[in-house]
């Protein structure tokens, strides 16, 4: 038995908490930027593109090639300590000329800071950017979802598979603007594909590799499984 459970934190608000962000004290553009933006500009001059403050939140645009380096520094440096990854997502604008943006929402728990890091990706070439999984384990599923929905490849991610859609999904990337709301295929085609799906297809090859026990199953069971017979329906 070690330290007993401490039920409460005393006090009514953490002393370091920032002033509440309401429209009362926030301009739409401009305002006090997060000091980390200037720190990035000073340290990574070439990779730093620009910064802006929207509704009190600081956006930092950086080069796609420097993502891993800058976010690693934000995580590790004692003056920054962005130890919490809130979100990884992407934004595609309705204007087809505008590049697609990958967005990292970073949070520093010790300093109570919030920073939005952005990278613009040219849509005419392969969408790829470094994974931050080696820095934040939270990025695992967030990046998988981003890959699933936008088709962005995160280099260095250990297991970049589709997550919300099934692995044999062929219609593309649903959150892209060129993807119609009702899907790319006709309803008839979607139904046909859904019915012809093999349930074993849901297992990844990695999982199937541990299913070596198949060879040891009784004969009748193996026959039943191999023939694709459906049971219990």
């Amino acid at each position: 038995m070690n330290v007993p459970f401490s039920p409460v934190l005393p006090g009514s608000a953490n002393p370091g908490a920032p002033a509440p962000a309401t429209p009362r004290n926030l301009p739409q553009r401009g305002g006090e930027p997060n000091p980390s933006a200037a720190a990035i500009a000073a340290k990574f001059g070439k990779s730093f593109l620009r910064t802006e403050v929207v509704w009190g939140e600081t956006n930092v645009y950086i080069q796609a090639s420097a993502v891993s380096e800058i976010i690693r520094w934000l995580h590790d440096d004692a003056s920054q300590q962005y130890d919490y990854l809130s979100d990884v997502t992407a934004v595609e604008f309705r204007d087809p000329e505008q590049p697609l943006e990958v967005v990292w929402h970073l949070r520093s728990l010790p300093y109570r800071r919030f920073l939005r890091v952005k990278v613009s990706l040219d849509k005419r070439v392969k969408l790829e950017v470094d994974s931050v999984w080696p820095i934040y384990k939270a990025a695992n599923w967030l990046e998988r979802e981003c890959f699933d929905m936008f088709g962005i490849t995160f280099n260095g991610h250990p297991d970049l598979r589709r997550i919300l859609m099934w692995e044999s999904y062929r219609e593309g990337f649903p959150l892209r603007k060129d993807f119609p709301l009702r899907g790319r295929f006709s309803r008839a085609e979607q139904l046909r594909q859904a019915l012809s799906i093999t349930t074993e297809g849901r297992y990844s090859m990695e999982e199937l590799s541990v299913a070596q026990a198949f060879e040891d199953l009784p004969d009748d069971m193996r026959r039943r499984l191999a023939g694709g017979e459906r049971t219990g329906e």
Partner: protein
């Protein structure tokens, strides 16, 4: 032999992890006088003569203990989980895609269906985010009503968690108690907005409805009676030897791991990290309420239970303060870019008519910009991220689902534990598949 002393006394606190960072199970035995003592923890690892081939077992997606359509593929060595591969997406509806084709107020019904145990809390969270994007302020009465809504929905969500987790671990009675109280909250919500589960209670710039006459009296009654149920559940479980045995030292996450895995809400606080959005990035004037944030020390299933039970009490505290300070006045903003002017004025006043026409025909249009607004949902940090290009429909409406990120750590948490403990660990995450799959 006396069999009357069934309620057992044990020291609080959990066994935690050993020097290698692995969770230590504490088998317990009941002594002659009825108290529970812990035995020496057994050596971890599988006896060599029992180490055989691994077995692949599939749980879900249609399994009551997975709390929805979650599927876990487990590789077992004997009864010990060696690897866990979760599969999600069975409930994927494309909420974020649909949101790009809807005006802001039209998205609110979708937020009900996303984390459906916290629907009114999602409505409020969405409205706060959209209002910041529009640059609209809501009147004080609306702010306090929203605090009441959020805390009621936290209570509902934690009660469902408590009840279903008890069922998973074999205790039926707390389930009945907690669902009875949940019913009382749903009655309150029903008399307020007319719906129980799919509330759609807010609008951008206000609420769908003000509370009816006498509603605060019902709420005060609930605030008075509810702590008794919490105390009963607490008494039933907190010092219950079986409960402690089934929850202690399971799924341990250290503070650093919990932060690195992006855990939030009670999951993060049980690991000893005092991070609560209501305290650290306050919204809805939460900084003016007096409440405590419970923090655990071991980060196991038992601490998550303690944190959530304490949060029930703190939510009641906030409710009591909110209902006392509830001011009179309008619930809707007077900004007619987002809230319709009164019908009589729309018929007589040119400017009001223009506002009316623009809102009905085009929908409210926020300025170009983007905003990420986190709130403390019962599951953790829920964030809505809006990107606007100046049109009436968002370019991007992103939900940061807390239980999605929390669930992504399940593989780490269950590995090395027994199959039966997977159920307890999975329950402790408090997942809602509607939110995870969206």
């Amino acid at each position: 032999m006396a069999t009357t002393t069934r309620t057992v006394e044990v020291a609080l606190g959990t066994a935690g992890v050993d020097s290698d960072g692995r969770a230590v199970r504490t088998p317990m035995t009941v002594t002659e006088n009825g108290s529970v003592t812990t035995l020496e923890p057994p050596a971890m690892g599988v006896a060599p003569e029992l180490a055989g081939e691994h077995m692949l077992i599939n749980i879900g997606p249609q399994h009551p203990a997975t709390h929805g359509v979650l599927r876990l593929v487990l590789e077992l060595d004997g009864e010990t989980v060696v690897r866990c591969v979760p599969h999600i997406g069975y409930l994927h509806c494309g909420f974020e895609k649909i949101g790009e084709y809807r005006q802001y107020n039209q998205v609110i019904p979708w937020t009900d269906r996303e984390d459906y145990l916290n629907s009114i809390g999602n409505n409020v969270a969405f409205s706060i985010g959209a209002e910041r994007l529009f640059g609209v302020e809501v009147p004080p009465r609306c702010t306090v009503l929203r605090v009441i809504a959020m805390e009621l929905s936290r209570i509902i969500s934690h009660l469902v968690w408590l009840g279903t987790t008890c069922i998973d671990l074999g205790a039926f009675t707390p389930f009945l108690w907690s669902f009875q109280e949940r019913e009382n909250v749903y009655n309150l919500l029903e008399s307020w907005v007319g719906a129980r589960l799919t509330t759609s209670a807010t609008r951008v710039g206000g609420m769908a409805a003000d509370i009816p006459e006498g509603w605060t009296d019902q709420l005060r009654h609930f605030i008075r009676t509810f702590p008794k149920t919490v105390d009963e559940c607490d008494r039933m479980l907190t010092k219950n030897g079986i409960w402690i045995g089934r929850t202690t030292a399971l799924g341990v996450m250290s503070a650093d791991e919990a932060i690195n895995y992006g855990l939030s809400g009670p999951m993060l606080r049980a690991s000893g990290v005092a991070y609560d959005v209501r305290k650290d990035f306050p919204y809805l004037d939460y900084e003016t309420y007096d409440f405590d944030v419970p923090v655990g020390s071991n980060g196991d299933v038992y601490d998550r239970f303690l944190v959530r039970v304490e949060e029930l009490r703190q939510s009641t505290r906030i409710l009591a303060q909110a209902v006392d300070r509830l001011p009179d006045g309008p619930v809707n903003s007077s900004d007619h870019r987002v809230i319709l002017p009164p019908k009589s004025r729309a018929m007589s006043d040119m400017e009001s008519m223009i506002h009316h026409f623009k809102q009905v025909m085009e929908g409210p249009r926020p300025p170009i910009g983007e905003v990420y607004v986190p709130v403390e949902s019962p599951k953790g940090e829920k964030g809505y991220y809006f990107v606007s290009d100046g049109t009436a429909k968002p370019v991007r409406w992103r939900i940061r689902p807390p239980s999605y990120v929390n669930l992504s750590a399940i593989a780490k948490m269950v590995e090395g534990h027994l199959l039966s403990d997977v159920i307890a660990i999975n329950a402790s995450i408090d997942i809602v598949m509607g939110e995870i799959d969206r």
